[in-house]
């Protein structure tokens, strides 16, 4: 089916109706899922309170495994946050219109991923209550934080990224919030009225809006790249074997884009199914996202394999040991799992039929996300297990507390996302309208062109005859 034809036939009022319809009182399933997520979050809180009181020992990390799931979760969630930035900012700048129906929830995903990720550097600290010492404020002791430390860069990077993404999401939502305001009743009305900042859709407002939005997009793209590069430098700036790798920043960014895209696909399929957004989140767009994911998968794979290759050819004894242990040592299930899910599985997307298969892509996206989660884990633990000093080699698997908090993070993210979907429009109405308008213009122009061509043919035929 020709999506262009579909698109151009959609009435603007229908767009409003469909999207606003998604904000209706939720069905029972929503409440059940929300309850489950809340329970997970509460378990996580309980686990953290226990850990806070007793110390990190309850998480079963040890020397030499000073870092484990908290850090790998942190990277995973920051990674997932790149999805939105990629879709909203990068594709905005490259003028890819197919992003228009889907970037809203992707941006939301970005914000919530960051909000989830932000917990992990906090709870992984030994003395959480002194967390604020990483802030560069002139304190009474006269000590500044250590600006050479990548963890400190993390703090500012995450903070900047969180605020920028929140702003970006919010600003992009203003026209939509105005639509919501115009159609809302009850508690929603004052909320939307406040948040839409008096948007009336005037030309002046639109011009200012466009400028701001594009500018923020330009700002966000390098920011996203730098944030994840900084997170990568947590590892790359250390001397731990198989962490101290120059290609880690681009590798992490690629991995982030990869897992972000996969998450987009997951939410794409789910939202399309739940809210019946078939008209907007078309198969065509899915296929484009799939192609994008595939491309990024190839980039990530290249960087991954080149990392292995350069370690192998380096002949560095410490790095060799870790690399070999990754494949045949105690953490081999994690590594091979990652390769299966993230290297082998995405080749399914080479087939057009698969790319257009909704549930196939959904399943694949989950597999890829699992693979990328395993990837973050296999970055952290095997290097620490086989470090420079053989006397201290040890194998540690994450304990119940760490797993509970990991599960809680997924619960928290889902909870935030669920609430978002019910309070704010998860499809950008004004952008879809722009898309529809564009398609109409294009098809209208095509029609006129066709008609002109017919006319020309007729005239030519006539002239020919004459």
């Amino acid at each position: 089916m020709d999506s262009t034809t579909n698109m151009k036939d959609i009435e603007w009022a229908r767009i409003n109706k469909d999207v606003l319809g998604s904000l209706e009182t939720p069905r029972i399933t929503f409440w059940i899922v929300l309850a489950v997520c809340s329970v997970l979050v509460l378990c996580g809180v309980a686990a953290e309170v226990y850990q806070y009181n007793h110390g990190l020992g309850v998480a079963l990390m040890d020397r030499p495994h000073f870092w484990q799931l908290y850090i790998s979760n942190f990277i995973f969630w920051i990674g997932m946050s790149h999805s939105g930035t990629l879709l909203s900012a990068v594709l905005l700048l490259t003028k890819a219109d197919w992003r228009k129906p889907i970037y809203r929830f992707a941006e939301a995903m970005t914000l919530f991923s960051i909000l989830t990720a932000a917990f992990f550097p906090v709870i992984h600290l030994g003395r959480v209550w002194n967390l604020y010492w990483v802030l560069p404020y002139p304190d009474e002791r006269g000590i500044w934080p250590n600006f050479r430390s990548p963890l400190l860069w993390d703090a500012s990077a995450i903070f900047t990224y969180a605020t920028s993404s929140a702003l970006f999401l919010y600003i992009g939502m203003i026209p939509d919030l105005a639509i919501c305001r115009d159609n809302a009743r009850g508690w929603r009305k004052p909320l939307y009225t406040l948040m839409s900042l008096g948007w009336m859709g005037r030309a002046r407002e639109w011009i200012a809006f466009r400028k701001t939005y594009v500018l923020m997009g330009c700002f966000l793209v390098p920011l996203a790249v730098s944030v994840h590069s900084i997170v990568a430098s947590d590892f790359a700036m250390s001397i731990v074997p198989d962490w101290h790798i120059t290609s880690f920043p681009p590798y992490f960014v690629a991995g982030a884009l990869y897992s972000g895209c996969a998450a987009i696909i997951t939410l794409f399929v789910m939202l399309r199914y739940i809210f019946k957004f078939e008209a907007y989140m078309t198969i065509d767009i899915l296929e484009k996202v799939a192609k994008l994911t595939f491309a990024i998968a190839m980039v990530w794979n290249y960087l991954n394999l080149s990392e292995y290759a350069s370690i192998w050819y380096s002949n560095d004894m410490y790095e060799h040991e870790v690399l070999i242990q990754k494949f045949i040592g105690p953490y081999w299930p994690v590594v091979w799992g990652m390769l299966l899910c993230s290297t082998v599985a995405p080749f399914a997307m080479a087939f057009k039929k698969f790319r257009q298969n909704l549930w196939g892509m959904f399943f694949l996206s989950l597999v890829i996300q699992l693979g990328m989660w395993l990837e973050r884990f296999q970055i952290v633990s095997p290097s620490l297990a086989s470090n420079h000093e053989p006397w201290t080699w040890a194998v540690v698997w994450p304990g119940l507390i760490q797993l509970t908090i990991t599960a809680a993070s997924f619960g928290w993210f889902t909870m935030l996302f669920l609430i978002f979907c019910k309070v704010f429009p998860s499809v950008s109405m004004y952008e879809v309208k722009e898309l529809v308008f564009h398609h109409r213009r294009v098809s209208a122009r095509n029609e006129i062109e066709d008609l002109n061509k017919e006319k020309d043919d007729m005239i030519r035929a006539q002239e020919g005859l004459a």
Binding site: D62, M317, P390, W391, T392, A394
Partner: protein
Amino acid sequence: MSSKSWNRRTFLKAMGLGGAGSALLLSGCGNTDIIDEVDLEVRKEKVEPNVDPQDFVQPGVALYYASTCRMCPAGCNLHARIREARVLKLEGNPGSPVNHGRLCPMGQAGLHAHYNPDRLTKPMMRKGGKLVDVSWDEAMDTLKEKLAKKNSRLAWLNGATSGHHAALTKAYLEEAGSKNFFVFDTLPPAVGHAVNEAMFGNAMPRLDFKKAKLILSFGADFLATWMSPVHFPTQYAEFRQPPRGTLVVAESKMTITGANADRWLGIRPGTEGHLAMALASLLVEDPVYAKRVPKDILAEIKKVDPVEVSKITGVSSERLHKLHHLLTKNSPSMVLSGSSAEGVEYGSETARAVLLLNVILGNVGKTILPRSEAVFPDLMPKMGGWAQLRTFIDGLHGGKFDTVVVFGTNPVYQAPAFMKADKAYAKAGYRISFSMFPDETTMASDLVLPLDSYLEEWNTALPAYSPEDGFVGVQQPVMNPVFGEGTTRPFGDMMLAVIKQMNPKYKTWKDYEAYVRDSLWTMRDAMVKPPVPTVGGETVREAFHNQVLSTGYIRLKTKPARAIKPKLEAINLPEAPKANSKYPFRLLPTARLGLWDGRHANLPWLQELPDQLAEVVWDSWVELHPSTAKKLGGIVTGDVLRVSSASGSVEVKALVTMAIHPDCVAIPLGQGHTEYGRYAKGVGVNPYHILDAKYDAKTGELATFATDVNVVKVADRGSIVTLAHGDLVLENGSNSQAGRTIVKTVTAKQFNRTEEA
């Protein structure tokens, strides 16, 4: 901080604070009142008042007192660092010829014995079948009632002892008219002592490590558990300076000494004597050596076939000849015999064979040196042995003793099950125990008298091995009793109170402190350099005590030692030990530097110190060679095994290691307590428990290395994937350097070349 420019030496010299200060500390004005607080939080906050300070207590300034360590019979001298009237750290006494200012892990852990939460603080008596707390008055009255009388059926079992405790005990037993005095300590090599006595005229001749170019040790773990854990390592360090001496160790399970050997010979258990005879037979091929041996013994030696011995011991001919070559090329050498070699039924023969090598090699008079006559024989160390314990227990079983006193030893724990020590002890009429801790013997007693620790009492102690003759270590309290005045008491005070009732002559001394001070004073004329007053106004006596106490030891004049004239006897080694199909493995109950024989199992530092070979903490284990592990069906480290002898069995976790002969399994000593406090109770197993009733033919000592066992796997190792192998906790993740240069090794040749001074 201090406003006076004292350093430690001038402080002790000028003030003689060892004497005066501690007297003041003891006299009550130095009450460590922080003890009286119950709440730890409050205690932590309590500050030393400066308005009404205690004498000689300057907050923030450390004092040092000299005393003597009693954690094992070695008797090293120490300096205790005192802050705010309590001892915080123990260091060696730099002037001591025994330990040269150094301490071993047990010495350092003395603080944990001193401050142990499970120390007894109240006397106890058995009433109605249970031990109940009683007052000191009642306890002392009972003690005097039981002991202060003539009683030929009194039996006294003591741990290794020396100095004035030994003298006072002897004096008491004379007054009581009892000849039943037994000394039992597990690790001193009683067989070796007896053989040395017979051959060289002294149970423990002087050894000159520095002179030796080669040391050949048959199971003598001199770097750790043989006699003196600090002294021999200090000498070993000199031995290893260029030109570097060579160390060869022949034993069945690697000890710390074996781990430092240039060549470790894993030898079939019980064949050390045969190896020694084979070496002897190779040596006497040279007439220079042959003529040092009497004809009859020479004939015996010549009958030994090195090829046959090679098969018996498992040491290849090539190794044997190499060792022979080493012995001939490196003179003088030193050949030592240790407990694992002597712990068989022909242990005396083995020791004689080993020590014979010293005679053949001409080491006697060079590295094996004589001792002079004891200046005060009553003070000399009595190391004891299993034979005495056996007599004691047999006596108990036979109902020969009514009142029994136990001090400084724990036979109910140490003795093998077959001796039925607990039942024997139960048979005694009345059982008195002097003890710091609720150990197995103490908890089976009728009257329990809680002791001061060695850091709280006056005493003298002579080292088990002393590099000098006439050396006497002095002990003084370094702080007030931890639990407060009148909770624990010194052994000396209590026995002096008893003996005063029997002989009024002893009333001259108010307490044991006076007794020791007086005794030392009487030894003044016998001293090499009697102290003279150095501070104006000091009397000779004051100077004497101040200087003796600040030095921490005295040196007595000795007569020159008479040269050793070795007395040799025929050596009758049996045929090679035959394999026992029911019990195919020899059990080696090996001592650890740390828990020793089990007396330190209640000290957390020493439980947490990984075994120096096995790296296990807080547990027992059984070591077996990988080929044994394979033979028994693929045992891996952590599996639970049942080790059974004809006398009993224990269940213990396996540790697979190459540092043991395949024909034996080794279980370390030190665990398996059924009492003894929270840190020791219920931890691990005691391998002595399952020993068979085998004795050295000549001395009657228990042959602790002669029991054969079989080994069966009972359970797989646990599935916890941590540093632990199941439930066995090891310190290390890897035994291999994995290609990294962590420990580099060079050859002795290169070392001598580049570092010859």
